[in-house]
C-alpha cells in the first residue's frame, strides 16, 4: 500500500472521488508501467494524460527529432523543441506535469531485435506509431509476450482503435498482414486533422487507465471507428480468429517480422 502524501491526495483527488477508482484505483495507476511507442500525434495526448493521471513509469520509444510540421498535432512538443529528440522533449513535459512519474526513454526504432526486450518490461503497451510494419510488430510482440495493448490509427478525419488482452482478437485477427506498401496513405501523404490525434489518443489513454483500475468494459473484441466529419462513432464486433497467424490455434508466425517500411517512412515527415 502506497502512503499517499497530502500533495498526492490533492493532485489525484478527482480520481479518488470516483467511486470506481478511489484510493485503491489510484494506487494501481501509480504502480503501473506503460510503454508508449511513438511520441507523435497519438503518443503526445496519451503521454500527457497518463502523466497527469500519475502512471508510475512511462516508457517512450521514438527515434525521431521534433519537426516543425509535427507541431500541428503533436501537442507534447513545443516550438522551442524543433530539432530535439522527441523522447527528450516528451520526458521534459511529463516531468513538468508530474514529478511522480518515472520516464524511460528509448531513442531508437522498435524492431524485431529490441521489441520483446522492451515490451516485456511493461504492463500495458500503447501503439502510437504511424506505419504498418511497426503496428504489426507491436501486435506480434505483445501476443508473444502475452501483454495487453491499445491499438490506434488515424487518417484524414478518421480514427480507429481497439484494446487487446491475451485471448481476445488481435490486429492480425482483423487485418491478416500489412497492406501492399504502394497502397498505403499515411499522415505525411494523406494529411490528418490535428485534433483527430487528440480524439483518438485520449480514448487510448482512457482505455489504459480502465485497464489498470478494472473499471468498465475495455474495447476488446470490438473495433471503434469514428469519422469526425459526421461525428459518427461506430463499434464493430470482431472475433478472435481461430485461423489467426499469430494468436490462432495453430499459429504460423513464430518470430518477429521486420516488414519493409511503407511509403511513409519514419524520417520523411
Amino acid at each position: 500500500m502506497i502512503d499517499f502524501t497530502e500533495e498526492q491526495i490533492k493532485r489525484y483527488s478527482r480520481h479518488i472521488l470516483l467511486q470506481d477508482v478511489g484510493v485503491e484505483g489510484q494506487e494501481k495507476i501509480m504502480n503501473a508501467r506503460v510503454l508508449v511507442v511513438g511520441a507523435g500525434g497519438l503518443g503526445a495526448p496519451v503521454s500527457l494524460y497518463l502523466a497527469a493521471a500519475g502512471i508510475g513509469t512511462i516508457g517512450i520509444v521514438d527515434a525521431d527529432v521534433v519537426d516543425l510540421s509535427n507541431l500541428q498535432r503533436q501537442v507534447i512538443h513545443f516550438t522551442k523543441d524543433v530539432g530535439v529528440p522527441k523522447v527528450k522533449s516528451a520526458k521534459e513535459k511529463i516531468e513538468a506535469i508530474n514529478p511522480d512519474v518515472k520516464v524511460d526513454t528509448y531513442f531508437e526504432f522498435l524492431d524485431s531485435s529490441n521489441a520483446l526486450d522492451i515490451i516485456r518490461q511493461y504492463d500495458f503497451i500503447v501503439d502510437g506509431t504511424d506505419n504498418f510494419p511497426v503496428k504489426f510488430l507491436i501486435n506480434d510482440a505483445c501476443v508473444m509476450a502475452e501483454k495487453p495493448f491499445s491499438h490506434g490509427g488515424i487518417l484524414r478525419f478518421n480514427g480507429q482503435t481497439f484494446t487487446h488482452l491475451p485471448g481476445t482478437a488481435c490486429y492480425r485477427c482483423m487485418f491478416k498482414e500489412p497492406p501492399p506498401a504502394g497502397a498505403v496513405p499515411t499522415c505525411s501523404q494523406a494529411g490528418v486533422l490535428g485534433a483527430i490525434a487528440g480524439m483518438l489518443g485520449t480514448i487510448q489513454a482512457a482505455e489504459t487507465l480502465k485497464y489498470f483500475t478494472g473499471v468498465g468494459e475495455l474495447l476488446t473484441n470490438r473495433l471503434l471507428t469514428f469519422d469526425a466529419k459526421t461525428m459518427l462513432f461506430r463499434t464493430v464486433t470482431v472475433k478472435h480468429r481461430d485461423s489467426c497467424p499469430i494468436c490462432g490455434s495453430s499459429p504460423t508466425i513464430d518470430h518477429l517480422i521486420d516488414y519493409e517500411q511503407a511509403a511513409c517512412d519514419l524520417k520523411s515527415h
Partner: protein, 69 residues
C-alpha cells in the same frame, strides 16, 4: 432485391452478387486497404469472388488506418 446491412446501414442489392462486386458497388476505392467481415466472420481476400451475398447478410468493411504520428 435483397436487403443486407453494410457498415450498419441497410442496403438493397440485386442478386446474384459476390463480395468483390459488393465492394465495388460501395465505392471502396482501394480494396487493398480493406478487410471484410461477413456475418461476424472475416473473409480472406482469395474468397471474395466466390462468396455470394444473400438476404440478411451483415457486411462490415474495416479500413486499414496507419497514421498515428
Amino acid at each position: 432485391m435483397a436487403k443486407i446491412i453494410v457498415n450498419g446501414e441497410t442496403q438493397e442489392v440485386l442478386l446474384p452478387l459476390n463480395l468483390t462486386e459488393l465492394i465495388k458497388q460501395n465505392d471502396v476505392s482501394q480494396p487493398d486497404m480493406v478487410s471484410v467481415q461477413v456475418n461476424d466472420d472475416f473473409v480472406d481476400r482469395a474468397e471474395w469472388d466466390g462468396l455470394q451475398i444473400k438476404e440478411g447478410d451483415i457486411v462490415d468493411f474495416l479500413y486499414f488506418m496507419g497514421g498515428g504520428m
